[in-house]
């Protein structure tokens, strides 16, 4: 079977699952719902594996497969900077090494999370609850949208997926819609994303205006021929890059549009794992990597990406240091890790960004699912201050989460070490890199190790602070939740071996070579040459240093949280203002409320006041006049109009009386009337 020809099945299958569960799910048993939801996702995963395997059989430079299914929007000819261009959008898919990585991550991790959800959401199934089928229908719709996003071969179709995942995110954040906070969080996510989407759309318009096409292949080929813009100037490519990146900051929760992601934790935990950690939020990174040619030709835009990524990484990590909700810690960690990925892209190391995207998908999905397992065990408790000493009560969850924590902290040989270390190395040594970008990354890494082990110590060690009511309910999760955890734990351990730095065992650059055809163009080759001269020793030294930094973070967390001691309290007391600022997330939500949300409301109020003062004033003034004229027209109505209406009614009645009289019911008179009609006809025809 030629899987490449059937890549359209990969997004279609989850859509079929979505359809069946969404339309008929209410009457399905749990097994049937599982069958459609999991079956479609598993088949989609298998199709992806088959397609990618066949892609890998091809020569590296031939690894682009385009499949145009049909012309979706034929809109005719438009004048662009590239001359007259035919605005025609295909519903087409593109499989190349980049989208190959993405579909494997999306379908693979997605399937595991589907399996996990059958356990986590099981209590939602029931005739009167009805949330179960709705959940899986949304989840499958998300899979369809995400796969459309990564497989699209043009910007417009990508935008369909982009909006689709946004919609599903909204639906799933607000899954428990009877909770006001969940509904509000859904709306917040949707509205904040709108701002980014406006940037995406403007970028898309500018791309068509500049290149006369929205097809990835055409745009990239034409962009590769464009001259590289001067660093510090804003040319058209820089403008495109920054506009697209604005879209990415919305979807991937970067400064300044990150505020929705922590609130998005109102959704069910599997949703947080799939959408708000492993896949959807990485769409921005994917998009920047997909358009790497444009960024490489716009150094200013790259610097923007790198700085925003780096600052977000350290900013979100610092908030994560002091949060008490287990999912919020992970949410800020996600924002921070996404910052790392953008940092990598911003310094021109796109393959490392994707590499970290992949490893992060493993260990962050695992962390969320593990957190879900903890919450499950504690009957819904999410506050770290009411956990503790769970290590022996839920050992499997503990072991898998520990693996993920070591991975995210960057301890070798776990997956996160390889990807994070490569990011730091590229930030330091790349042509676009800066020593201070590296420093930001290292400080963020220190914080990461600290807050993650704080989470581990507070959850699993120490004495139990669990509510006694809950205490005796504590139980390990069922196997359909644990097995996905274990698979992801294995991936978190070995996932980094696809790309090993040179100083370890001679190195292995399989992942870089796999993605090379996507990111290789004349402009990047110059950059690559610059990296070569950096020494192997420096790379090894920096790697060692970052490991030491991570261990320091772990040690600090151990000092503060492993044993009950007064150390953390003393530390907090001495740095009370800092703590307060961090605990309140730099007051960013309040600032946004004050600057934008309330100003928007003020605008509404002002318009309302204008309405009340000016317009209503006019209305009242005219009210008097109206009353006056009303009296006049009342008289007019009463005597003239009603008179006319009554005349009409009277006429109708008068007209219908003869009709009634004619309608005697006697056949004889009917026949007589017909004879009169016949005479009339004959007269009209013959005699007239």
């Amino acid at each position: 079977m030629n899987f490449l020809k059937y890549i359209w099945l990969i997004p279609l299958l989850p859509l079929v699952g979505c359809f069946f569960n969404g339309v008929f799910g209410k009457r399905f048993s749990k097994v049937t719902i599982d069958f459609f939801a999991l079956g479609s996702t598993l088949l989609s995963f298998l199709c992806s594996v088959g397609a990618v395997w066949q892609l890998s059989r091809l020569q590296p430079e031939e690894r682009v497969f385009n499949l145009n299914l049909f012309e979706w929007i034929p809109a005719g000819v438009a004048l662009t900077a590239h001359g007259f261009a035919n605005f025609s959008i295909q519903w087409g898919y593109r499989l190349d090494p980049l989208s190959a990585v993405m579909i494997l991550v999306v379908t693979g991790v997605g399937f595991l999370i589907h399996v996990y959800s059958t356990g986590y959401m099981a209590h939602e199934h029931g005739p009167h609850l009805g949330g179960y089928y709705r959940f899986f229908s949304y989840l499958n719709l998300f899979m369809f949208s995400m796969l459309t996003l990564v497989l699209a071969n043009n910007f417009a179709l990508m935008f369909v997926g982009w909006e689709g995942v946004g919609l599903c995110s909204y639906l799933l954040i607000g899954f428990y819609f009877h909770k006001k906070s969940a509904g509000d969080a859904g709306k917040k996510a949707f509205i904040v994303n709108r701002i980014g989407d406006a940037g995406f759309m403007l970028g898309m318009f500018l791309i068509f205006q500049t290149f006369g096409s929205l097809d990835f292949g055409t745009v990239m080929a034409r962009a590769a021929e464009a001259p590289i813009e001067v660093y510090g100037s804003v040319g058209v490519l820089t403008a495109i890059g920054i506009l697209l990146f604005l879209g990415a900051t919305g979807k991937s929760a970067q400064l300044p549009l990150y505020t929705w992601l922590p609130d998005a934790m109102e959704g069910p935990t599997p949703v947080s794992a799939l959408i708000h950690a492993a896949t959807m939020v990485t769409a921005g990174v994917y998009m920047v990597s997909r358009t790497s040619v444009i960024y490489t030709h716009a150094p200013t835009a790259m610097m923007v990406v790198a700085v925003v990524g780096g600052v977000t990484a350290i900013f979100a990590a610092s908030i994560g240091l002091v949060q008490n909700d287990i999912k919020r810690v992970l949410a800020y960690s996600t924002v921070s890790q996404l910052g790392y990925m953008f940092l990598a892209c911003g310094v021109g190391a796109y393959f490392v960004g994707i590499f970290h995207l992949m490893t992060h998908a493993f260990f962050k999905a695992l962390l969320f699912l593990g957190a879900g397992s903890v919450i499950h065990a504690l009957s819904g408790e999410q506050d770290l201050r009411r956990m503790g000493a769970l290590k022996n009560k839920i050992p499997k969850t503990y072991v898998t989460m520990l693996a993920a924590t070591l991975a995210i902290s960057g301890i070798p040989p776990f997956a996160g070490f390889f990807s994070k270390d490569e990011i730091l190395w590229q930030a330091f040594s790349s042509e676009y890199g800066r020593w201070w970008l590296w420093l930001i990354g290292v400080v963020a890494a220190l914080m990461t190790a600290f807050y993650m082990f704080r989470l581990i110590f507070l959850t699993f060690y120490n004495e139990s602070r669990v509510d006694p009511e809950v205490e005796h309910h504590i139980h390990e999760s069922p196997s359909n939740m644990i097995v996905p955890l274990q698979i992801l734990a294995v991936l978190s351990v070995i996932g980094g071996f696809v790309q090993i730095p040179k100083f370890l065992f001679g190195g292995f650059d399989g992942f870089e070579r796999w993605l090379e055809p996507v990111f290789k163009h004349p402009a990047t080759e110059a950059g690559a040459a610059a990296v070569e001269h950096a020494s192997l020793g420096a790379e090894a030294g920096l790697a060692l240093f970052s490991v030491v930094v991570a261990l320091t973070g772990i040690y600090l967390a151990y000092r503060f949280y492993y044993r009950p001691s007064s150390a953390p309290d003393r530390a907090m007391a001495s740095a009370k203002p800092v703590y307060t600022v961090l605990f309140n997330k730099y007051y960013m939500d309040k600032i946004y409320d004050a600057l934008f949300v309330n100003r928007t409301k003020d605008l509404g109020n002002a318009l309302w006041a204008f309405d009340r003062g000016v317009i209503d004033g006019g209305v009242n003034g005219s009210g008097w006049f109206t009353r006056f004229t009303a009296n006049v027209s009342c008289w007019w109505d009463k005597w003239i109009v009603d008179g006319l209406v009554n005349v009409v009614g009277f006429t109708v009645k008068m007209l219908s009386y003869p009709l009634r009289i004619l309608q005697t019911g006697f056949v004889q008179s009917y026949a007589f009337l017909m004879v009169l009609g016949i005479i009339a006809f004959i007269w009209l025809y013959v005699l007239r």
Binding site: V652, K653, L655, S656, L659, R660, L662, Q663, G665, V667, Y670, A671, L673, M674, L676, G677, I678, A680, F681, I682, L684, Y685, V686
Partner: protein
């Protein structure tokens, strides 16, 4: 000895319907009473088979049997229309017949035979064939109108329709005879060419035309030959009324259009003014009288007169677009009216009680779906946008405007606006009045939960969908109608 080769394809739908009609009647004595409903299923299958046969006709265009029958897209369109009407009517009748205790298979047999006659009227290319088709239809209809044999009103309807119908048919036949006397042919296009030679007695032709128009006007119930309609429609069984108001009327228009546009185009300035006057009278009488009715069947009878008047507006346009819009409108009107009668049949009680407008009070709360569907049909009949009634009227009035018939169109629009008054009365009763407000006390069994059979539900659902489909996506049907209208014109 070799038998002459007779092509059966040109009359395949008619043959299928006849065979199934005979089969339904033959099986009746061998079917136990509780199982009689399967005979209606058999009749329905017959309609489906005839629909399939009709598809084959598309590939067999031409004149057959010495020019007596013509197969063109005009006749195929009308065959489709008649078969759809027959199918929906069969489904809509099942529950009613059982409830009224008249579940005899003759009903379905007659319905199929009447449809055979209607198909002949659409496909006839010659006056005698038209007459035969019309007679087959009429005789079946007379019997169907009196199908509730024990009910006086039903009997009255049948006998009135029979007497007056025979009377009118006689004039049609007399007209045909005069036409033959003048032109020495009954073949439509030969009449047309005979008229162009100028060597014929024009007075005979004109008298023949007048008398033929009398016959057709009676069939389609336009003024001044609409007088029988209210009494017959009120007395006939509800599903029969629904069927009569669309089926034989559409067949009458099919023959009316073909005869006048194929055989008599040379005289169009003569008959144009008769149409004009008849149209104004028909619309106005229909709408004015409908306003005063309290029985919903009678109200819809007058409404059907008014609709025939609107159709004459497009007829008077004398253009292919006018013909096409009439074809489209007949389809639109058929689904709206059949749906409305299906609702009435579902809501009425045995013995045809509960058929006054007042008795629809509170239906909106007791049967929200039924009331919503009824509202859709009534709004469609008014011609509110998004419904088939709007697009249909729009195309017809546009055809009239294109032929510069401004006054006629204005009168039609005023009439259409006035019709809202009576079409909204059941809606207001359904949603804004409490049951029993009118002072009638209802028997205890009347408030029993309503049982609506699956077949009736299907008819109502299909009609609602069709009303919206034709209202939103009219182009497929209209394009087909337009291509066939050019053939006739």
């Amino acid at each position: 000895m070799t038998l002459p080769q007779v092509p059966i394809l040109p009359i395949l739908p008619e043959l299928i319907l006849t065979l199934f009609g005979i089969a339904v009647m033959l099986f009746d004595p061998f079917t136990a009473k509780p199982h009689k409903s399967w005979l209606s299923s058999l009749a329905f299958i017959g309609v489906l088979a005839a629909l399939a046969g009709n598809v084959l006709l598309l590939a067999a265009e031409g004149e057959y049997y010495n020019g007596m029958i013509i197969v063109d897209s005009f006749s195929v369109f009308f065959n489709f229309l008649f078969l759809i009407i027959a199918g929906l009517s069969i489904l809509a009748s099942r529950q009613y017949l059982v409830r009224e205790g008249v579940n005899h298979s003759e009903y379905y047999g007659l319905l199929l035979f009447a449809t055979v006659g209607m198909c002949f009227m659409g496909g006839a290319n010659e006056l005698i064939m038209i007459f035969i088709g019309l007679e087959i239809t009429s005789i079946s209809t007379y019997v169907l109108a009196g199908f509730r044999r024990t009910d006086l009103k039903s009997n009255e309807a049948a006998i009135k329709y029979f007497l007056l119908g025979s009377f009118a048919t006689a004039f049609l036949l007399y007209g045909i005879a005069l036409m033959y006397g003048a032109t020495h042919t009954t073949h439509l296009s030969q009449i047309s060419s005979a008229l162009l030679t100028g060597r014929i007695d024009l007075r005979l032709v004109l008298a023949g035309t007048a008398l033929m128009m009398v016959g057709f006007s009676f069939k389609v119930a336009t003024a001044p030959f609409q007088i029988w309609t209210p009494d017959v429609y009120e007395g006939a069984p509800i599903p029969v009324t629904g069927w009569m108001s669309v089926g034989p009327k559409a067949a009458g228009f099919a023959a009316f259009l073909r005869v006048f546009f194929v055989a008599l185009p040379a005289l169009d300035q003569k008959w144009f003014w008769v149409l004009w006057v008849s149209s104004v009278l028909t619309m106005t009488i229909g709408n004015t009288a409908a306003m005063l009715q309290s029985n919903i069947k009678r109200m819809l009878a007058y409404s059907s007169i008014a609709h025939a008047g609107y159709i004459l507006v497009a007829f008077a346009a004398l253009t292919p677009n006018g013909i096409a819009s009439i074809m489209f409108y007949l389809l639109a009107y058929s689904v709206m009216n059949l749906g409305a009668f299906a609702v009435i049949s579902a809501w009425s009680l045995s013995g045809e009680r509960r058929v006054t407008i007042d008795e629809f009070a509170g239906l909106g709360y007791r049967q929200p779906w039924l009331a919503a569907a009824f509202t859709v049909f009534l709004l469609g009949l008014t011609g509110i946008p998004l419904t088939a009634g709007f697009t249909g009227k729009f195309f017809m009035f546009r055809a009239a405007i294109n032929s510069k018939l401004y006054w006629l169109t204005i009168i039609a629009l005023l009439n259409s606006a006035a019709s809202l008054y009576y079409y909204l009365r059941p809606t207001i009763a359904m949603y804004m009045r409490e049951p029993g407000e009118s002072g009638r006390t209802s028997a205890p069994q009347d408030s029993a939960p309503l049982q609506i059979s699956m077949a009736t539900k299907v008819v109502i659902a299909v009609s609602v969908l069709a009303v919206f489909y034709l209202g939103l996506f009219p182009s497929t049907i209209l394009d087909f109608a337009q291509s066939s209208a050019f053939l006739v014109h």
